[in-house]
């Protein structure tokens, strides 16, 4: 059993954690600014898809990343417009973005390539250490950056003020809506990176619904990590470990039913939010608006 835990398992965990970390950092920024974001899943799908589209047409995977990020940022902008300007229900708007993500990608898949399940293969981002994508370390670097931004910069403190007490923040001259727009669009960018990690980092193409709930798991990690970048990172690693176990079990030919083992991350998330949510405290102003009008 001791050879079950080896360097391969560690690599698998890092690979599984990276897309979760990207999306979780995006979700964290949005929620810390006061906008609920259950749209991470849809933003990831849109990023993953347009990353492939960009790479396909421009024959350059880095330009593809740019296109993918732009697509996801637009999804973020739509979410922001609905939640902030139109003041629509933030969960309803998020659900719509998720449906738009799965609908639009499948629709365009059939329009562009006449395929219903998968895009053609495109170039993949470079890898190192065998099978670890170049984007993996990027994900881990983003965590301290987000922490530093939120806690050590003036803008970051303004974001927190917008998220904790939007009306008070507004009264001292902070443009709450502007900060919220920036954070929600940035959450699209980061979630889009998470999707791109899947389609251009791990694989080399898009397949229908390829995010498989990772956006929601990332959101659970934000809650489990108490809306704190370091805590969210820990939660992402935990969920990634749960996803890595079935893969490791298969590789080591351990005699265990992988169907049920694959349910582990979801079960773990359930237990986590049932048991630990009492201790976690969402931003005070989450879902509240800066002005009453």
């Amino acid at each position: 059993m001791s050879d079950f835990f080896d360097i391969f398992l560690l690599k698998t965990i890092l690979r599984m954690a990276a897309p979760l970390i990207f999306a979780a950092m995006g979700g964290l920024l949005s929620e810390r600014s006061g906008v609920m974001n259950i749209a991470l899943e849809g933003m990831m799908l849109i990023g993953a898809f347009f990353g492939v589209v960009g790479t396909y047409y421009m024959h350059n995977v880095w330009l593809g990343v740019l296109v993918g990020v732009t697509g996801a940022a637009v999804a973020g902008l739509i979410h922001a417009f609905w939640c902030i300007t139109l003041r629509a229900d933030q969960i309803v708007a998020g659900t719509a973005i998720n449906l738009l993500g799965s609908g639009a990608t499948v629709f365009l898949l059939s329009r562009i390539w006449n395929q219903s399940g998968q895009s053609p293969k495109v170039d993949r981002l470079p890898m190192f250490w065998g099978t670890v994508s170049i984007l993996t370390p990027v994900a881990f670097v983003i965590v301290p950056i987000v922490w530093w931004f939120l806690n050590r910069t003036k803008e970051g403190l303004h974001v927190q003020a917008a998220g904790e007490h939007p009306q008070a923040a507004e009264s001292v001259g902070i443009n709450v809506n502007l900060y919220r727009y920036a954070c929600v669009v940035m959450s699209g960018v980061l979630a889009g990176m998470g999707g791109i990690y899947l389609s251009l980092g791990e694989l080399s193409g898009f397949s229908r619904e390829m995010t498989q709930g990772k956006g929601f798991i990332a959101l659970a990690a934000v809650i489990f990590g108490n809306w704190n970048p370091v805590g969210a990172l820990g939660a992402c690693l935990l969920f990634a470990a749960a996803q890595a176990l079935p893969i490791q079990a298969q590789a080591k030919q351990v005699d265990i039913n992988t169907d049920l083992l694959l349910a582990l991350p979801y079960l773990l998330t359930l237990v986590a939010i049932a048991g630990f949510v009492r201790k976690s405290r969402p931003p005070e102003g989450l879902g509240k608006h800066a002005t009453n009008r």
């Binding site: 719509a96 639009a104 499948v106 629709f107 349910a263």
Partner: protein
């Protein structure tokens, strides 16, 4: 005074109906633009869609077949939303309902039709109800957001479904691992066909009956009153002595029950087995509930609308060449426009109110759901 109150009610109903209509029109208009951008004729596409949905007895029957799960799912969303619970877990609840109902049917218990059909439906419904009640209990006990818990329960339900129709074949003779489905449901457990030489099954009647019963429960019983009060304000409900935790749990059970019936009616009525593939109907249900403004009668009409979109989309793809996935985009557009219009309507109302009276403490936009 009474008269004015009465007319105010009519005005609200009218504006609600108009909002839903407008939202659908906006979604269809944006959809038309999308069709035009992809170099096709939107008029042809929509004509093919309508033709596919209503062109003849067979087509109409198919539309009602597609409408059945839409109504049940919309009701499932609506009853939870009335208690201010956002049930994104309908997809998982319907999978559990379909699986359990179909397993009972595939077991071939040798019962008479009058006993077997209700039993299988009931098992499916209750199984979905239990699956739906879990997030209710979790929220009541520890405040866990149902948005996350229902989604996780969806993925758990999918894993259970895959396991049951594949690996479980080793010890369970009611499943067919080759097909990734249960064995054929016994003829005596199948919901009967209600229109000759079509696929229209009694699930449609179940859906209509469920809508009428839910209307009665919501608006004519104490339990319904509790659900609606809890949905409007948790604080006010608790002040009035209504137990918040148990009410949201019961509402979620009811929601899961309807979702379970939706799944069971598909497998027992339409498909004849539980297949392990995702219909995505659980997410469409959200759009149905929102367009029906979480009112059981509104949901019947909204369900019909989405049934038309579903059943017409195949004809649209075959005749006009427009990808049937457009319907998925239309769903998202409908949700976006309903939520935007509802919120604008709410803001306009509140502005009128604050202009007329002294400002009162501001509340959240009243789409009927919170986190």
């Amino acid at each position: 005074m009474l008269l004015r109150k009465h007319f105010a009610g009519v005005g609200k109903l009218a504006s609600t109906v108009i909002t839903s209509f407008l939202a659908v029109l906006i979604a269809l208009a944006v959809g038309a633009i999308l069709i035009a951008i992809s170099n096709q004729n939107p008029v042809d596409a929509y004509r093919a869609l309508i033709d596919g949905a209503f062109g003849g007895r067979r087509a109409i029957a198919e539309t009602l077949v597609a409408t059945t799960p839409m109504i049940l799912g919309g009701l499932a969303f609506a009853v939870a939303a009335r208690a201010s619970m956002f049930n994104i877990g309908i997809e998982g609840q319907l999978v559990i309902g379909s699986l359990c109902g179909a397993l009972v049917g595939a077991a071939d218990l040798g019962l008479s039709k009058w006993l077997y059909v209700p039993l299988a439906m009931l098992v499916g419904g209750v199984a979905g109800g239990i699956w739906g009640a879990i997030p209710g209990v979790m929220k009541a006990k520890s405040g866990a957001s149902e948005v996350i818990s229902t989604i996780m329960l969806n993925y758990l339900a999918f894993r259970i479904s895959i396991y049951m129709v594949t690996s479980a074949g080793a010890w369970l003779s009611w499943v067919d691992p080759q097909l990734q489905a249960t064995k054929k449901i016994a003829p005596n457990a199948r919901l009967p066909i209600i229109l000759d030489r079509t696929r229209l099954h009694a699930g449609f009647l179940v859906a209509i009956a469920a809508a009428l019963i839910l209307w009665y429960v919501l608006f004519r019983t104490t339990f319904g009153y509790k659900i609606r009060t809890v949905g409007l304000s948790r604080g006010a409900a608790e002040y009035a002595g209504i137990a918040w935790g148990s009410t949201i749990t019961k509402a979620m059970f009811l929601s899961g029950l309807l979702a379970g019936l939706m799944g069971a009616s598909e497998s027992l009525g339409l498909l004849g087995r539980h297949y392990d593939n995702r219909s995505g109907y659980g997410f469409t249900a959200i759009a149905v509930g929102l367009v029906g403004r979480n009112h059981p009668i509104g949901v019947i009409f909204a369900g019909l609308l989405f049934g038309v979109l579903r059943s017409g989309s195949n004809a649209m793809q075959a005749q006009a060449g427009t990808s049937k996935e457009l319907v998925l985009i239309l769903q998202a557009l409908v949700i976006l426009s309903v939520s935007a219009l509802a919120s604008l309507e709410y803001l306009r109302e509140r502005r009128a109110r604050t202009a007329a009276a002294t400002p009162t403490a501001a509340a959240q936009p009243a789409t009927g759901v919170t986190a």
